[in-house]
């Protein structure tokens, strides 16, 4: 009997040396003449333990980590293939409290299966949602997504079912399903982890979307910074075509759905949906004026669904287990689960999927273990570079859409970046302006010119030049950007800037060294 050993192929695991670990394990097994099979899985999302190696035993999977090539010989000496004791032994994987306390609906297979094995996917409920959808009328599929309470996970939190209904109700010769996989928000990596760890789930979700609204063609707009996800998606798409899950006659249903990946080119603004559509058409990623909505006039002027990776990947489970099942997770108008991404100065960074409603403090301390440096967490930025900085006094806020907007913050794509008490929030405010200046699409003046002006003002404030007056000016500039910008880049850059000024005023008045 060959023992199965899992070593992740996920980019984050590779970034900590997983490739060398896999090679060392293979070499050591050969040397000792032990028959093993190495599966390159996705990551479980316990990033501080990567590379996390797992072994399949009669008592389930056991985990060891973080493993370096130097540990491999001693792992074999300790008989890790039979879950032997070793300083890196973490016990049964599913019993690790960080994982055990999660409620994984979207990430249920990530880290568990071989991401590009269709067989493995099917053995773990894969394509059960599509099979169910093919038994339903398109309106029933749309209704199920509406009933589930799913709201877009890309940032704007718009109800997914309502968007689908609009596209469904259009009559057009060609409709499209597009997946926004631009994942430009700093502090976020859920899309990447899912695309690398369970790409079939996204493909299945998009296929269901196509059948629901009558779209026969889909595009995944993937950021160029994600070569590993690109590879995994292309492998999975090829396998899905091969097995008849994509193409002219999906599962012999007579329905067509074609899917391809197109690469972005390093522009944050192309995550904004109309800019993304321009870019997919091969143009400069300039934001379009709305209306018309993409659901009515989207890609190449046709009715188009634009959804985030996680929104689309949540659809198979909704169809498979029912809208009620999904809706029973969560609180208020935030239904289902949210994959949070713990990043920055945090001891246990990684992916944490759970029903909406836990507090920031629980996330940061109970699961995240506090800061990496062991110092107090002073602030968190939630929801990417356009999200507000939240001070410690507000860490008891619940993580749901309404509660966060109640304190002037936003959940966005679910990234949570922690800063310890050495962070300089004035410098972070300057950075927010600089980022806006670098990434502005240039269409409107408050964003294009305002952000450059904002950087200059911040430089003066930091250098203590006419400080109080410049603080006043930057506040006024923020108001202009807030009200005069066409899209969220210019319109939301004031959130991190003004929240930093409001909650950390002392950082803006430090003496100059």
């Amino acid at each position: 009997m060959r023992t199965t050993v899992y070593v992740p192929r996920d980019a984050a695991a590779l970034s900590n040396g997983a490739e060398a670990v896999a090679a060392a394990i293979a070499a050591e097994a050969t040397k000792r003449d032990l028959p093993i099979r190495i599966i390159r899985n996705g990551t479980r999302g316990l990033n501080w333990l990567e590379p996390l190696v797992e072994v399949a035993t009669a008592q389930g999977r056991h985990a060891y980590g973080p493993v370096t090539p130097k540990d491999v010989e001693s792992l074999f000496n300790s008989d890790f293939l039979a879950a032997g004791t070793h300083p890196l032994h973490l016990g049964p994987t599913e019993e690790i409290s960080y994982l055990k306390s999660q409620q994984r609906l979207t990430f249920t297979r990530v880290g568990v299966i071989d991401p590009v094995s269709l067989e493995d996917y099917q053995a773990h409920d894969g394509y059960a949602g599509l099979r169910r959808a093919l038994e339903m009328a398109p309106t029933q599929i749309v209704q199920a997504v509406t009933d589930s309470g799913l709201r877009g996970r890309g940032g704007a939190a718009f109800p997914t079912g309502i968007k689908w209904k609009t596209v469904h109700d259009q009559s057009a010769a060609q409709k499209y399903v597009t997946c926004n996989a631009d994942e430009g928000d700093s502090g976020t990596f859920a899309d990447r982890m899912l695309m690398e760890g369970d790409p079939f789930m996204l493909i299945e979700g998009m296929t269901i979307a196509g059948i629901a609204v009558g779209a026969t063609r889909g595009f995944i707009y993937l950021r160029a910074e994600y070569p590993h996800a690109h590879r995994a998606l292309n492998e999975a798409i090829a396998a899905a075509y091969e097995a008849g899950y994509l193409g002219r006659d999906v599962l012999s249903s007579g329905k067509t759905f074609d899917l391809e990946v197109r690469l972005g080119a390093g522009a944050y603004i192309c995550g904004e949906e109309t800019s993304m559509l321009e870019s997919l058409e091969g143009k400069r990623g300039e934001v379009r004026v709305r209306p018309p909505l993409p659901a009515i006039k989207g890609l190449f002027g046709q009715p188009t669904i634009v959804n985030n990776v996680i929104s689309l990947a949540s659809v198979p489970v909704i169809l498979h287990k029912g809208a009620e099942f999904y809706k029973n997770f969560g609180v208020g108008k935030s239904r289902g689960t949210i994959p949070l991404q713990l990043a920055g100065n945090i001891k246990r960074g990684g992916l944490y999927e759970r029903a909406f409603g836990m507090t920031l403090r629980e996330l940061l301390y109970d699961f995240g273990g506090g800061s990496a440096t062991g110092r107090p967490i002073r602030a968190v930025q939630v929801g990417g570079p356009l999200g507000a900085y939240i001070p410690e006094s507000q860490f008891d806020t619940a993580i749901d859409y309404e509660a966060l907007s109640g304190i002037g913050a936003l959940l966005g794509h679910g990234g949570v970046v922690a800063f310890d008490d050495t962070a300089d929030m004035a410098k972070m405010a300057r950075y927010a302006m600089e980022f806006c200046a670098v990434e502005s699409c240039g269409k409107c003046t408050p964003c294009r010119i305002g952000s450059t002006r904002g950087v200059e003002l911040m430089d003066r404030i930091l250098a203590n030049v006419d400080r109080e007056r410049n603080l006043q000016l930057i506040d006024e500039l923020c108001e202009t950007m807030l009200h005069g910008s066409l899209c969220g880049l210019g319109g939301m850059t004031p959130f991190p800037v003004q929240s930093a000024m409001k909650y950390f005023p002392e950082d803006f008045r430090r003496s100059v060294q």
Binding site: N47, G184, H228, L263, A265, Y268, K283, A418, Y431
Partner: protein, 169 residues
């Protein structure tokens, strides 16, 4: 800095062929310009100015349109880069983990600023805004190889490994 001939007739045969191959690969797709540019850069490592009129003619676009797209996107390069491209993340999560110290160290070690190439032509240093490795900040990418938890020591080791690999060739 290397400049390229703006006139297609001055392109060498190999470069011209690579552009034609990129066009052949994607020309028939809907809205193909970005894909063509990606393919050109993939083959040549940059997009020569002289490619712009060729692409414009082939895709029935104006030169200004093609030029406008090339310059809009940070990813497209108009000059040949060094042997390796080192992209250091500048975004919040990496800042929270002393990313600015890594920037300073990298610039000092390579003796260049961002957007510059080392004197020996080995490394081009670029800023990048999130690599999706935020749970292992600070992060950087060398070509398509991602690295996490990068401190000065790890940076030097990565650079040394690339330089040593070169000497082996």
């Amino acid at each position: 800095m290397n400049t390229t001939p703006a006139r297609p007739e001055l392109l060498d045969a190999h470069t011209r062929e690579q552009i034609d191959l990129a066009l052949a690969q994607y020309q028939s797709q809907p809205g193909p310009l970005l894909q063509v540019l990606h393919a050109v850069q993939h083959r040549l490592r940059y997009i020569p100015d002289a490619a712009i009129p060729i692409i414009a003619t082939a895709l029935n676009l104006s030169r200004a349109e093609v030029h406008g797209v090339v310059t809009f996107y940070h990813y497209f390069r108009r000059h040949p880069p060094g042997e390796h491209i080192v992209q250091i993340c500048q975004a919040e999560s990496c800042k929270a983990m002393r990313g600015d110290e890594l920037n300073a160290h990298a610039k000092q070690r390579l003796k260049v600023s961002f957007h510059q190439t080392t004197a020996d032509g080995q490394f081009t240093l670029e800023p990048v805004y999130c690599l999706g490795n935020c749970a292992n900040s600070p992060a950087l990418m060398i070509d398509t190889e991602l690295h996490g938890r990068v401190d000065a020591e790890k940076f030097d080791a990565l650079i040394a490994a690339k330089s040593a690999a070169k000497e082996h060739d």
